[in-house]
Symmetry: C2
Subunit: 260 residues, 2 copies
């Protein structure tokens, strides 16, 4: 039987709130078994870009990662946020080890090809992006890998990569060796049947029900890419995908996605 | 017989020069056997502090690491410099993995006690600072650990630590398991008999000769703490300490320190 592995992804909001971040990390220490954490960036990087007079470059509403922006997000995500998180986990007695995709060649990305828009130093993840042997070694040695959303291309170029994509790519790759639960943690208790009613959490959501809700427009627009991603991970062999509140990971209220 | 391990420490100057840094990293790939790299910070962190309007705080000519400064040096050393170096080594086919002292609890420091001066968030290293089991696992798995000069106290606090001290503390701790060569790489070919003559490199320097040269004032003032540190490492079981030019690590010109 494959060992279990729980992959948690946390986003921006909680990273900007020190007390909430500590509460999440403390709750994580109570989750049994092998674990892996992926974190996005908070608002700090955007603030620092403004403080340094670097204007955000947006094309059709989407941020472009130029060389100066890549430097700052690498510093913020791989330096400040990642190391703070690792040191806080160490203080809780958890042997965390921070990684970018470059470290140990953990995640090798491909710079997004220029079509209509040049996104700059943004990395997409091919099917074979993950060095599963490295992660297996780290997990076997009792370590909790903590990933920031920076990868590399194997040619010396660091790349900015979406943290949700990193989490689901890790989950799919590690599903060959582990029974993987993928937990997307955010600021709501789960997927809501009614976006205006925080209590309308759907406890279990099948792919068929999701398609129906998506068709009627009931699912919040921001959740659609996350859920598309999540159901694709389930189809690719991930055992379970959970959508839950980052501050209530050990409580029963959450949405569990089901294949059918 | 213990396996060999070569620990290289590089300082600020080379980190600020992209072409020189690449030249050093390429040369490092030709060094056989287990290796470990420790890097200091370049001038980038000081520049960013100025750009953000954070004035360096100096007491009796020594820099104080306040909270804002710690944030910036952590971003720069653990984020930008460390990840750039790792990605460049990966491009050379070397499986590098970047670490701060917090990662895997690799190096646990103690915040410098406040006596006459409060140095702020600066970490000193006790005798048992190094997690040798972790480093042994990483080396055994063919990884090249790349350390930045950020440590932690095990209570959730990151600390700024001298990179020379990190290199010699790692060397001493790993000497129990490996035949360690400690290489301090800088911008001269070795220890000079005459500070005004770049060609006066001393090929071999014993502790006794060093004490004589120190007494006559022949050794450059800036070299004294480095060499005191280096001879202490030799006394503590490190096999060999080498002082050499960062751009000529595979050439014969260098100073090898000898116990007696």
């Amino acid at each position: 039987m494959r060992e279990g592995l729980k992959i948690f992804k946390i986003g921006g909001g909680i990273i900007d709130d020190d007390a909430q971040l500590r509460q999440f990390l403390r709750a994580l220490t109570h989750v049994p078994g092998h674990k892996l954490l992926v974190h996005g960036g908070g608002k700090g990087a955007s603030q620092m870009l403004r403080d340094l007079g670097i204007e955000p470059q947006l094309v059709q509403g989407r941020r472009i990662t130029d060389a100066a922006t890549l430097d700052i997000v690498t510093m913020f995500y791989a330096g400040k946020t990642n190391k703070q998180m690792v040191s806080l986990l160490q203080a809780e007695g958890v042997n965390a080890l921070g990684l970018s995709g470059a470290d140990g060649n953990a995640i090798r990305a491909v710079k997004r090809p220029v079509k209509d828009i040049d996104y700059g130093f943004v990395g997409d993840l091919p099917a074979n992006a993950v060095n599963t042997d490295l992660l297996h070694q780290l997990l076997k040695n009792g370590l909790l890998p903590v990933f920031c959303a920076i990868t590399h291309d194997g040619q010396g170029q660091l790349l900015n990569t979406n943290a949700d994509t990193i989490a689901s790519t890790l989950a799919r790759a590690l599903a060959e060796r582990y029974a993987v639960e993928l937990h997307f943690c955010f600021e709501k208790d789960g997927v809501l049947r009614d976006v205006h009613d925080e209590a309308s959490v759907i406890p279990q959501l099948t792919a068929t029900e999701y398609q129906e809700l998506k068709a009627t427009g009931s699912i919040a627009a921001g959740m659609v890419p996350k859920l598309d991603n999540a159901f694709a991970a389930l189809e690719a062999g991930v055992e379970q995908v959970v959508i839950e509140h980052a501050l209530r990971i050990n409580e029963p209220v959450k949405t569990v996605l089901c294949r059918s």
